[in-house]
Symmetry: C2
Subunit: 555 residues, 2 copies
């Protein structure tokens, strides 16, 4: 990612571009340019007056000139007029396409935009009169205008939904995006759980800093065992080892076969043989370098070798970054079910480098988005979840994220890690809200186990589709919740059905370890966002919901 020299804020009137822009400029110590204000000063009249007298075409000309002049500068935050970006000419290499330009779209829903503009008009009087507020049905007209401009807004580097976030919070996040890009500053997420605390770094290029990050946490440690698999190891183990050597560690590499086969008693036995055979001591480190399987396996080995040695999780898959590397669940499989043997063990350090996702097979990347979408569904039921912006964020940034576009990708991972960390901090042992993270997993795990044809996230996507249909059947959410979830899962290329036998899936559901007194606890979505726990789901509902995601030709 090139260094960011300027930030351009785009979005409809009422999205807060000017207010957020001033706060970002203050935060960065940069100057601010408001193109509307520039034109008003130059022409000596207000924007509504200019529209009325000179006409829109003349105004767009002045606006383009003001924007291009501002973009020629550096260390500047530019708030554009709402329509400026619809002019294709401003997206050229001397315009918004200029190197070092971060375009941030502030996304506001039409009703919220109109409410904000009305309030501003009431407060500041005629000078802020907007044509939009004058006629009938302003919300409908705002919606139509926003829809027309959406393709232009979608050319931004990242879209941030701002309905439920104040300008100070939005500005702080934009400042964070810029400083991360320019200074390599890694905003850290701290997880304080009863069993221990975890420090989580999410930043492109952070694999190269894993040694210094580990050294800061373990000043006296000497040896480190990189546990990885035969697919990830060749790609990233040399870089991890080099970073560890640089910080004074003596690394060894333990490579296990890729895939679930290693997440077994035999697999962990092989890791024990290496660690204990090499004489690991309590102050030494295990570095889990890989996806969910390696993280679970190496984490369990680290938790149980000498009753606990140092542990760094270095997730290399999207699923591991946003989910399995955070929260301290470690474990292996048993013939009776997945993850039935394990321990809670918080990794003191997690280093997530989104740049590593470039080497991830497409299907695994897709699978990872399922857990991200799961977080968006449950957000409203988690600490600080009233912001409820992850679902619109995923909807608005689907193309950027599936193409690994920065800074949207790092922002998405960071927000997902923060959500997971907040849930785990509130409920490490899954006595309460941590259970919400199982949304889609009750049927998802069973679907995954029924055939082993699907990756974990693919199965969870189907589990979420089915669980949402159960929610609709019970009546806690409506058809629009089902449609919206289906659409976002489709946008991230997650499957709609799979080939599996319904009876087999239902039989496998019986061995879920989250059962309580023999009854299945379901996590189901609620209208408007968030989830709830229900035990009153009838078999017929489950079968019906399952029918929607299973290919019926398999019996």
């Amino acid at each position: 990612m090139p260094l960011v020299e300027r930030v351009v804020l785009v979005g409809v009137s009422g999205s807060g571009k000017s207010t957020v822009g001033r706060a970002v400029a203050t935060g960065l110590g940069w100057e601010t340019v408001d193109t509307d204000a520039t034109i008003e000063t130059a022409q000596g009249r207000s924007v509504p007056e200019l529209f009325a007298t000179a006409g829109e075409a003349a105004f767009r000309g002045w606006e383009r000139a003001a924007l291009l002049a501002a973009i020629a500068r550096s260390r500047v935050v530019i708030a554009t007029g709402g329509g400026a970006v619809t002019d294709a000419a401003v997206w050229g290499p001397d315009g918004l396409g200029r190197a070092g330009t971060l375009v941030v779209a502030l996304d506001v829903s039409p009703a919220v935009a109109i409410a904000r503009l009305t309030e501003q008009h009431r407060r500041e009087g005629a000078s802020t009169a907007r044509p939009l507020l004058a006629g009938a049905d302003p919300i409908d007209r705002m919606a139509a205008m926003k829809a027309a401009r959406q393709p232009a807004y979608d050319r931004a580097g990242i879209t941030l939904p701002v309905d439920h976030a104040g300008p100070a919070l939005v500005a702080a996040e934009i400042v964070e995006l810029v400083t991360a890009a320019n200074d390599g500053a890694s905003p850290e997420i701290a997880l304080e759980a009863p069993s221990g605390s975890s420090r989580i770094v999410v930043a492109p290029g952070s694999l190269g800093h894993v040694g210094t990050l580990a050294r800061a946490r373990w000043p006296r440690a000497q040896r480190a065992w990189i546990v990885t698999d035969d697919r990830v190891g060749p790609l990233h183990a040399p870089a991890a080892a080099a970073a560890l050597v640089e910080a004074g560690f003596t690394p060894e590499t333990v490579t296990v076969p890729a895939g679930e086969v290693s997440k077994s008693l035999g697999g962990v036995g092989a890791v024990y043989d290496r660690l204990l055979g090499d004489g690991i001591e309590r102050g030494d480190l295990v570095v889990a370098l890989g996806g969910g399987v390696v993280g679970d396996l190496a984490g369990f080995a680290a938790a149980t070798c000498l009753r606990g040695v140092g542990l760094v999780q270095v997730p290399t898959s999207l699923l591991a970054m946003v989910d399995s590397s955070v929260g301290g669940k470690t474990g292996i499989n048993h013939a009776a079910g997945k993850n039935l043997i394990g321990a809670f063990y918080q990794p003191p350090l997690v280093v997530a480098d989104p740049a590593l996702l470039a080497t991830l097979p497409e299907r695994e990347l897709t699978s990872g988005w399922a857990e991200v979408i799961k977080h968006a569904v449950i957000q409203a039921s988690t600490p600080a979840g009233e912001r409820n912006d992850l679902m619109p964020f995923l909807e608005r940034n689907a193309a950027r994220l599936t193409n690994l576009g920065e800074p949207a990708l790092s922002y998405a991972i960071r927000r997902n890690v923060a959500l997971k960390a907040a849930v785990v901090a509130a409920d490490e042992r899954e006595g309460g809200i941590r259970a919400f993270l199982n949304f889609g997993h009750t049927l998802g795990h069973a679907i995954e186990a029924a055939g082993y044809l699907l990756l974990h996230g693919e199965a969870i996507a189907l589990g979420m589709r089915a669980a949402t249909r159960i929610g609709a059947a019970i009546g806690i959410c409506g058809a629009e919740t089902v449609e919206r979830l289906d659409a976002v899962l489709d946008a991230y290329h997650l499957p709609r059905t799979t080939e599996a036998n319904a009876d087999a899936v239902l039989a496998l559901m019986g061995s879920d370890k989250k059962r309580e007194a023999g009854r299945q606890r379901w996590v189901l979505p609620v209208t408007g966002g968030g989830v709830c726990l229900r035990v009153d789901v009838e078999d017929g509902m489950v079968r019906e919901a399952l029918g929607a995601v299973l290919d019926r030709t398999v019996e």
Copy 2:
């Protein structure tokens, strides 16, 4: 144990019999009889005056009569004159041998006794004048008198050293002994550690209450798996199962082969197969019924099944009761060494029933005393360790304890559990004082591993003998510390030497998991009590110390 209807306190002048007696009577709501006071009232003169005028023989007659009259009563606490119990006649079935009579000897060292008497004389004046204080060398004369009377004091049911314990604490412990015997009241020890809390019950007959104790902790649990071995299971599993059924649990029994062979990856795999195959849920219980091997194995299985299920430790060996069942260490062995795979997992409930020790093979009982003696050595370095009474307690009660005499046995176990719990609460993860519990284990583990000829405690006894010699070689303790430890180990029938090769032992020491940055940390005893950590032990000293406990014919 018969119900206790009366308590008789015996001991030399200055041991605090009268003060403690009044406090015990208050605590129990009983009456108190002080035989000296009874005689003084009846004869109208003070004890010193009666000695001077009527002579000792006449006084002993009055004393015997007063004591026998008091023993005929119930709900009474009797403080005897210091010499009364030397009269063999008072030990008959109508005297101290009467059913329902608990004789407690208060053991005070001569110097402390003389200091207390001197202080009392200064405070209360001539009426308390004692012949002992009158002449030269009162401490020597007290020591001689005490030595002469010791065989009589040793006929008590329990001897409590009181040098560093105030009368209120001693009285409270005696009240606890009586209420435990009469009401089955189980004084509970609470262990609050970062990873969880533990409630420990030590009481004869408590196996019969394991169901109700577990029910109080887990009101809604339904199933319980008793994990035991093929030696303990036939003896005690039926009683445990019956107690669980009575409290509404559905118990299953999982029996593993007795011995270290089960403490392996294969052994825990077999336990997983049963628990997970039977469909264990997070709210269900594992009941570890057995010695250290079963406790470690079943505890590790409980810690790692579903990332943690309910756990009750029911130790059936002395070693397990005073050591391994308390503190949350669980684990299995690896080819590279013992206990190298494991987890910290506090059992929410520990039920120790000293009556079960009657079925323990003699050699295993003996082995258990080694950890008890270890606690006595380290006591002064543990929380509240300034009482420093466990070594004299073990010395004074050796015959009672090796014969499983109550209430000395339960008292000993309770005090040892309390010490271990206090250490673990202060330092669960062995960052500091918990390391003191490894006294004798550095060489002990290696000696144990070198031949597998010895039981754990037998090897630890040799490790303690050797470590104490290293302490003397370094100069932090003297020959008298070595002699005293040797004597108490001898008194509990622990071995003095074994057949093992010194080089093999030294090589095995290298894989100890408590090494730090490649250096061996030694826990060594200090003159006067307690231990310290040292890393400056030279190989020659270790070899020399090892020579004292290895049979040199093996090379």
